[in-house]
Amino acid sequence: MSGEAGRLVIETVGLKKTYLGKMPTPVLFGIDLRVAAGEFVSIIGQSGSGKSTLLNILGALDVPTEGLVKIDGVDISTLTEDGLAVLRSQVVGFVFQAHFLLDELTCLENAVLPISIRNGSPTLEESAWITSLLVRVGLGGKLHKYPDTMSGGENQRCAIVRALANRPRIVLADEPTGDLDSHTGEEVFRLMRQMSSEIGISFVMVTHDERLARAADRILLIEDGLMRALTKEEKAVGTSPS
């Protein structure tokens, strides 16, 4: 267990990203990030600092301009298009600010979607497992409801279960509570922490909510295209009032 815990599931070295367009926009100037198995990391930073850009690269949705990105020990620049699809399917799970559930599918169908994409349809065991997760997050009574008949918090909880469906190594969550009121947001966050420790999945969560950020194992700050851990003072500022 200790050997597994020390393993790096994310490792970036000198990761740079410049959006090429009419005007090249440099966003990330050299990010060195290491996330261990089972760790819950939060990333904060000002709007436009490049948090989503980083997450997209970590989830193989986008490619870095420069630098090394290793996900679960694999240098993703060596992967083919299909290899990247496998990575997105089995190694990484995504939770976005908007839930991005499919309107045409029920809560349960949405939650098993990554399994259906990988293997056509879930096995009975897989269905049972996903159902148990949905029950755990309080959606036991909503299994066959469609997203447009469920609340924002319910949909986001369903999206979290979807991110866990293929038992990934890492879940990348980009402002998962951004669209929720603070109470619901906290619930969703607690759920992610629970899942993280229970199933042993690493979480990298981007958030604007300092309280939630501080509840993580580690807080990282993106500033001026670089990433650093919060200093003791910065942490203290946040913690003292409570």
Binding site: G59, D62, R88, F96, F100, L102, E104, I117, G120, S121
Partner: protein, 419 residues
Amino acid sequence: MTIYSLLPRQVRFESQLAWRHLRSGGGQTWLTIAAVASGVIIVIFIMGLIFGLQRRLTALLTDAIPHVTVQVPEGKPIPYADLPGRLPGTSSSRSEIQAPQRKNIDDWRTVLAVAGTIPNVRAVTPAVAGQGFASKGANPVGVSLIGADPMEQELITPVTKNLIGGHYDGLLADEVVIDFELAKDLNVGVGDRIRITSISGVPEPLRVAGVYSKGQGRGSAYVTLRTGQSMLGIGNSVNVVYVKVFDIYAADAVAERLSALLECEAKSWSSEFPNFVTSLQAQSASAYLISGFTLIASSFAIASVLIVSVQRKAKQIGTLKSIGARSRQILLIFLLEGLGIAIAGSVMGAIAGIAIVSLLSLPKQAVARGGGLPESLFPLILDPVYILAAMGAATTATVLAALLPARSAAKLNPVDAMR
């Protein structure tokens, strides 16, 4: 569990999502299905009309003529130098026609036997045909003469149903059935006696047993086979065998088959009416063209609806990719959607097309032709081959139309799509 578990894994989730898309598409889905169905309806109608018209015209033409005529080839002009029995040493640029008259088919029973083995053959009638002059008193009038058994000849060129008076069935050896024009020229009627002088030169006294009218043009004079044989002086032989087939469009094949099997020359009706055949082909070509353009037009309509639907689903496509869907799977989802529309549209189009054509076939012509039942007003036909072809072509066109939006969906970049 679900019906999707019956499908192979490679298309299971894709089929499920495609079906959900179609279901949630509602009116838009029905619109595209209607576009495919309209295409199929138009194609079935056009094909039914054009080919129905062709069948009626062809039937009108070929009902009254032999479909295949078997004869011994006419002698080709032979250069004098090659003429058998020419005087040695003499030479001439003159050509001789070897035989002035149709040669006889002495082994016509073989022809009958061989023709009987060809599946498409409906009736085979041995006959003698030749030219002659008919007269009553003075003025002789040219006439073409056919000698055959009335029952058998009836199967080749219907006479009885065109009779104005008298009979053809049970024709006696000294009787003849002539057409109305000849009767008028000779000023004779049923029961009168006329003379027909054939090429052999012997005048034959015959009693008019019946007068018929084809409605247009001059017809032949019909005598029994024996009388014909004796008038043309060819003994027990015949000089022509008439063949009637079931499928007149396959008459060429029957003619070819007979020519190959026999030392005779077999000509099909189509080689006697090349212009008719050409105009049929032009008609068919225009039917295919109209059908093709119809399908192209409905494909454009479908493609444009699907392009918009893909654009509206950009976020979903991005989501699917972000949770592991490959481009191939996205392509398949939208192709299957196209296939669903195509199949639903062609099935509904076929049903509606068949219904419309059947309904339009109900009204009958006011006047019946040739004593039969009145034919339907619109000469529409329903040929399963064309219906299946229309469905197949519409399905293909629709799937091709879906290919363009499906490919653009597959190529979507997830980050851009989800922004």
